[in-house]
Amino acid sequence: MAAKKVAQEDKVSVFHALKKRALFALQVLVAVALLAWVVNPSKEPRLFPERIPVRFWHMWSGEWKDVVDKIVARFNASQSRYEVIALSVPSGSADQKLLMGVSGGDPPDVMAQWNQVIPAWAESGLLTPLDSLMTPNEWEELQATAYPVALKIGRYQGHLYGLTTGVNVFACYYRPDHLAAQGARTFPATLEELTELGSKLTRLDEKGQITRMGFMPMGFNIYAPIFGGGFFDRTRNALTLNTPENLRALTFLAESRGRYGYEQVVKFESSLNTGGFAIEWPFISGQYSVTVDGQWRVEQLAKYAPELKYATAPIPPPQGGRTLAGFANGNFMIIPKGAREARGAFEFVKFWSGVDQPERAAEFYTWGGWLPLSPKIAQTPVYKAYVKQYPQFQTFLDLLASENIQPTAPVPFQVLLTDRLTRTEEAAVRGTATPKAALLALEVDIQRELERRKRFGL
């Protein structure tokens, strides 16, 4: 009896030990497998290992990244000397990464940018002047043929540091059905009329909350030129901040918002699905009747809401204002100093922008719904067919050619200036400062920055 029990216990303990050992072996196995997987380096896939690599950074993702990859593939197929390797960098930290890359001695060869970096980076000696990579003839021709605004975006103190591959301009998108319901057959010809129509188009629910926005103007940099103002005088090469025109524009923005109350608009906007993707643009679901947006929406609407009936128009001028006016920025290509393959990079820039072959590049511009670098590209059959297919795009081409479109002022502290402009607009539309006081504060602020820079030789 006793012996039996001992044997049983033995069996149990042997079984136990075995189980323990098996478990241990299993753990070791898992650990080793994990380690092998972790330590084993993954190789960057190179399609053309024999070619000179051109490292290209950009900030697009999602459906945009697909377009970029397509263009890169085209370039790689078009010649046999270079291979462009694209890397998508998170847009929020791309600038920092580039700066570190350049100072670390390992910058990309070319980068697609849209932030306001050209003057500051050019001042720091971070950028290769692209005109230095062109023959004098090429540079002459580019200046003669490109849209002036496209070059303005990339130019600083006589040199071209960024070549634009897509200008962004802003115009009204509107729903003719909403307008017709208010008895408006045509789009208003003045900003005053548009404002009045907008307030008729806005819908509130029983609690007084906005459910549809007729028209809500936003963006000091868009409206200042429309009111005949702007922030930079290119003939005097000086900032123009506290001017009567800018004050009118700011007052208009503050009054438009004040009509509903700042809070109400915040609430309305935060309920909207603004994922940055066309499918969920609130304009499609009818939550805006008239809204101001960039030309890329045309392409997206065609893709995701082909049934939607809509039209576009330039923002109409107010009394005494300017027609076909507004703000422009854009995507542009830069080549950092220290790029190992500046030549190859520039080949890629030319390929994409269409400096050398407008016909070939025209197609890329249509893929992204981008506005072209030059009228030459706009005249190509491919691009003309595109505009014919999407007549709404014509508005943006008209704006592109206009002299009243202004990019950010070419001062070395563009980012700070933009931040302060945003702050000025916010103070005015929130009503924490009168437009006049806000504008004065802006001027004082920027003056202080100018003096500081002068004192320290920045």
């Binding site: 972790v38 960057e44 670390g104 390992d106 909350q209 994922g275």
Partner: protein, 290 residues
């Protein structure tokens, strides 16, 4: 020792405690549950339809219906999840090993050995915790660049081997609470300090080691700036970087963003549940003693 209130609390006290804790637990758990719930919703369930200002919070809207599993594969498809996970794990393992080992050695020096200036040096080490990271960021970057470490994992792993002040602090506190008799006995038998550390002190210090390991794991797992600054190759990016990448491009896509966040948090939660007991014991025995 186990119970600081004496005897069993009365029924009334227990019920009141339960109710209060339950009530408080709601705001503590809700954000995570809401994240999970949102990650399984379709956009149509998240955003109000045309003409309605708010999506009235009907009870049926708390839970996803139908369950949109596709948010997960969708989120994973936008970044190379596997590659990032692998890199993150590699960095975590190296950093955990480096930081825990070196901190233990340093802490032993501060806790058990006598030398001139010991307490002053210890205070100095504590003071460095008050240093804002931004102060040292730029020169540190320049230093690693000069060493030729830019673009490698070295800047992200080597510093861990110099010990982490916070861990040294926690471990020192813990070592001080250990009875000295065992070490003395070992010393009598001719053991060196090094052997005492390995054979006597460390085996008794598993809770605090686990705590530091988990903290280091968390720190490395979450580190976004390090990889951003030093890594230049998409094959070397980490999950924290991936989440940031995701956020900057999918700002308003709440369902997918929540799915990505859930994926990011999940391994940490699993790890926490595995190590929970040792871990809580670890903090519990360190923070209190002066």
């Amino acid at each position: 020792m186990k119970s600081s209130t004496f005897g069993k609390p009365s029924l009334g006290v227990r019920i009141a405690t339960h109710l209060t804790l339950l009530l408080l637990a709601v705001p503590y758990m809700l954000p995570l549950l809401w994240m999970l719930s949102t990650s399984l919703k379709e956009d149509t369930q998240i955003f109000p339809r045309e003409g309605a200002a708010t999506s009235a919070l009907a009870l049926e809207n708390l839970l996803p219906h139908p369950i949109a599993w596709h948010n997960y594969p969708d989120a994973m498809a936008t970044v190379p999840f596997g590659v990032y996970l692998k890199n993150t794990l590699l960095l975590c393992v190296v950093n955990v090993v480096g930081a825990v080992l070196s901190s233990a050695i340093i802490a032993y020096g501060f806790a058990r050995l006598q030398f001139r200036g010991r307490d002053a040096l210890f205070m100095l080490m504590i003071a460095t915790m008050a240093l804002p990271g931004q102060v040292t960021m730029i020169p540190t970057f320049a230093l690693f660049r000069e060493l030729g470490w830019y673009g490698t994992f070295l800047p992200l792993t080597v510093p861990a081997f110099f010990g982490a002040p916070f861990f040294v602090f926690l471990m020192r506190q813990f070592f001080l609470t250990l009875p000295t008799e065992l070490s003395e006995a070992a010393r009598m038998e001719g053991a060196t300090e090094w052997q005492i550390l390995w054979r006597v002190v460390l085996p008794l210090s598993k809770p605090v080691l686990a705590t530091c390991a988990l903290f280091q794991f968390l720190g490395t797992w979450n580190d976004f700036f390090g990889p951003l600054l030093y890594v230049n190759d998409p094959q070397k990016y980490t999950l924290a970087y991936g989440l940031q990448q995701f956020m900057s491009s999918y700002g308003g896509k709440w369902a997918q963003l929540m799915a990505a966040s859930t994926l990011f948090i999940l391994p940490i939660l699993v790890l926490f549940f595995l190590a929970q007991k040792t871990f809580i014991q670890g903090i519990a025995t360190t923070g209190s003693k002066d």
